[in-house]
Symmetry: C2
Subunit: 220 residues, 2 copies
DNA sequence: AGGAAGTTGGGCCACCCGGCCCATTCTCAC
DNA sequence: GTGAGAATGGGCCGGGTGGCCCAACTTCCT
């Protein structure tokens, strides 16, 4: 018997996933509506597997995965997302996800991945791609074995950068963000510059959109 | 027996909806992955009801609803969305939707709404809110009976404005958009100005985000 | 101890952007 | 046929924005 926790902010998806899991013989211990709740419920319910959505309020799925993986290194986490972005996939796996699936996947794929993951494959990244390969063309490079996660991408954003980009997305101008954070407008612009660099954007609009796709920004 | 067509770009949701519908005794004639496909399949399969997602590639759910409603005025369309925006709700109902639900809804709500809608209530807006009222606080104003849809919002965007905003979202600058459309940069700025006005945005970033929430813009 | 990264801040400058006026043309509806 | 709305364009201007330099301080890891 395998126990599982489902974290997704859409009740519709949660119910659908629960049902599919239960039909496959898994036991759904609980459902979380955001990342923070997921972290809390894992400590409380001790599931053997977590199904985690990326875009969630309060605490995003990636960050929730990072925290869960830090606290429970052996807990398998299957990350589910709306947008199939290569960078996001890497982010998820680097955060400690055992597998990465798109919502374009079928219910069967999700269940199969969940069961396989819970069975305890050691090589996380390999598993994710091998399962996905059955449905799509092979993604990209196969990293070597071990812990080295490959220096593919520089990194996403620092906490401060995320905070600033979130405020920009919320509609604040550079100087308004500065005022809210009690820092200089120049500093905000400097942060934005490094954000553009990291997200490969050339202006705030593209940066915000990119962040939305990645799932590190809330749409209010 | 009631026949239904499901339009959603996420296979996961489609399967979940199909299952819930079938369990409730409805017959799912087919599934569409985008708005254009939905329009085509309606003509082909002649369902008695359509479940339509808002954010879909190729042709958005709102526009698809508008076209379906124009071609089949009696066809009930239940619009489903990620983001619970009052403006979007109005948009959907104005486009001819019979009901409006969020993905925060439960499967039961969706099925109940579908069945009630298919049963053929005349007062569309009323129905949507009355059903939602059982779960949330009453939304807002109850419009009078009849066809007058109330002059609540001015209107969304003109085709040209949507096109321009889409290009902005795709990463083009004002002058690049102008070059692509063979018009003056000043004209693009003028269109943007009226877009800001209509979407209540003060810059392109907010306008694009607003459009994304409304579902009239693709995220590439 | 030393280096890397994050946060804060500066100056400078060209250019873009948004706000506020305006006019012309075309189409469509009343 | 008159008027409303859409699409096209103009000028002007102040302030915001992004690019490209640089520096200081803190924290953290090695």
């Amino acid at each position: 018997m395998t126990t599982v926790l489902i974290a997704d902010d859409h009740q519709l998806l949660r119910q659908a996933l629960r049902r599919a899991m239960e039909d496959a013989g898994l036991v759904v211990l609980g459902e979380a509506g955001d990342g923070a709740e997921a972290v809390q419920l894992v400590d409380q319910l001790r599931p053997e597997l977590v199904i985690m959505d990326v875009t969630m309020p309060v605490l995003g799925g990636i960050e929730a995965t990072r925290r869960l993986h830090a606290a429970h290194p052996d807990l398998p986490i299957v990350v589910l997302t709306m947008h199939d972005e290569e960078a996001l996939r890497e982010e998820a796996l680097r955060a400690g996800a055992s597998a990465f699936l798109t919502k374009d996947s079928s219910m069967q794929e999700v269940v199969a991945t969940a069961i396989a993951t819970a069975a305890g494959e050691a090589l996380s990244a390999e598993l994710a791609s091998s399962i996905l390969t059955e449905f799509k063309a092979a993604p990209a490079a196969a990293a070597g074995p071990g812990a080295a996660v490959a220096p593919v991408e520089p990194s996403p954003l620092t906490p401060r950068e995320e905070q600033i980009l979130q405020l920009i997305a919320d509609g604040y101008s550079t100087s308004e963000v500065a005022a809210r954070l009690f820092i200089s407008g120049k500093t905000v612009k400097n942060h934005l510059a490094s954000i553009y660099d990291k997200l490969d954007a050339r202006d705030r609009t593209q940066a915000v959109l990119s962040a939305v796709r990645i799932g590190i920004i809330r749409l209010n």
